[in-house]
Symmetry: C2
Subunit: 332 residues, 2 copies
Amino acid sequence: MSNIREIARFAGVSTATVSRALSHPDKVAEKTLKKVREAMLKYDYRPNMMARNFRATKSFTILVLVPNIANPFFSTLIRGIEDVAQKKGYSVLLGDTRENEKNEDEYLSLIETRQADGLIQLTPYSPGSKLYPSYVLAVNAAGCEGTPYPTIRIDNREAAKTAIEYFISLGHRRIGVVTGLSENRHTIDRLKGYKQALSEAGIEYDSQLVVEGEFTMSSGKIAADQIVKMADRPTAVFCMNDDMAIAATQTFKSNGLKVPKDISVIGFDNIEYSKYTDPPLTTIEQPALKLGNVAASKLIQLIEGETLTESQFILPHEFILRQSVTTVLNNS
Amino acid sequence: MSNIREIARFAGVSTATVSRALSHPDKVAEKTLKKVREAMLKYDYRPNMMARNFRATKSFTILVLVPNIANPFFSTLIRGIEDVAQKKGYSVLLGDTRENEKNEDEYLSLIETRQADGLIQLTPYSPGSKLYPSYVLAVNAAGCEGTPYPTIRIDNREAAKTAIEYFISLGHRRIGVVTGLSENRHTIDRLKGYKQALSEAGIEYDSQLVVEGEFTMSSGKIAADQIVKMADRPTAVFCMNDDMAIAATQTFKSNGLKVPKDISVIGFDNIEYSKYTDPPLTTIEQPALKLGNVAASKLIQLIEGETLTESQFILPHEFILRQSVTTVLNNS
């Protein structure tokens, strides 16, 4: 399947330059024009066909819908998408949806008007949300169980379970958790892992130890302030992302608690900042770059007319042990 | 000037829905279609004209070119752009250029093919870089002195000078600086402020105290490791962004130095993470949200055919005093 990308690659120029050579040859340097025309000859392409192909059929553009670009986990994942897209001759456009359906509709019109060939959705699917029309090629990255279209993700339940089991192995029994919004699918999957680990260790689930956050730093601070004031404070806290864990750690410390001596903390994601907190944060790594790589390559397969053999791709998470966790002291 | 946005607003639907009502009325609910048609009647618009207007003349889309979406300073600025764009009926698309001209060319083709009406560039202009063709409407946000097109920024030189003057007021004389890449225009402007503050205080400039970074956390760590090993170590360090300051602070501490007792640190940007470091980071705030607001409204003015009365808009920076700085001890 020859196309504008191959012409671009052979001519050693960008697809934008090939497009310009076709639409506005006067704006392209003579030398470049020559290279593009040689490439077109080699591939036996008539310029008109090419232009039609480029304009009407494909944009070689992938749209990525991001719920919160301020979270560095997503920016790393996007880099992973871009790396693969670039190699395959696709551009990446980002739409910051803030999880708002109206924003999302505006971006979807890019697909309808063929300004993008397909999309990667970074907000986890929830049963209430709309399905894409059949002409929209879409994959979901870093999502959750039960997503009804191709999905590249980790096993959130298992990952959360790993964190709690580690706390338990160090003697912790009162283990708090700072969640995302309660209806968020990541919250639901990870909370299942939390409960399962407790139950397998014979520890009773106590809803008072579950504090709702919003995956933001400010919500992590508010949750930590609540935990500090608890009569029977947990000795360990699992935060469902690093942003909340970073804010919670500093909030515990500014309230006179020592981390990890008085309270152990585990985060989730392994964003770069988690290496530079004091103490450095123990966390669960989601392979952000890899999730992005696989999502891009699966979407491009779909765009190029291939069918996927599976629809759920589960990548391994990793437990990252740093200094924010210690054995429980006999203070209970 | 009536347009698709007004139809959308009046009908209480998104512009995407209006567009769909025009191009694929069969895909739109009867009730919605009725509302859109009423709005078109009210504004005395013939659907064909509308469709032509929507498709050929304007996309109501702004393109934002970002050098590094992993830096939360940029994500906040982008939120500022989106807030204004949304109010005025424009969508925002992001292109992550990684400061690579080839990537930028790909994105520029969106303007050439009228898929975006104009762009906001977040990489500072440098004299070597290409100028945009005259048909590209562009503004620069968070840039530097000497940008030859409309620019919304702070006075980087003054802002850096403020940081150094504060160190000097506390008795510091050996003041280190961790810069961005030496050819980066922010590095150049801020280094001027550093030198000017020293010179006005009668302190001799010592190039050994200038350590080159790359505005990334890993480069902040490397720079701090270098500073720790200096024979005549500075008592205070100004880092040209918060990412480097956060990594440097933790690196100093893990080398046994106390911050700020042994070494004071000031950052730049005031990203949210700087509130949650230990100690919380003293920094210079760039008004990221406001920079984004003004950049969007200036670009939209240009897109809508207005002329700007000025071309350089300088917003005030702010000195944010937290706990990472103290008076110099008599150890020199």
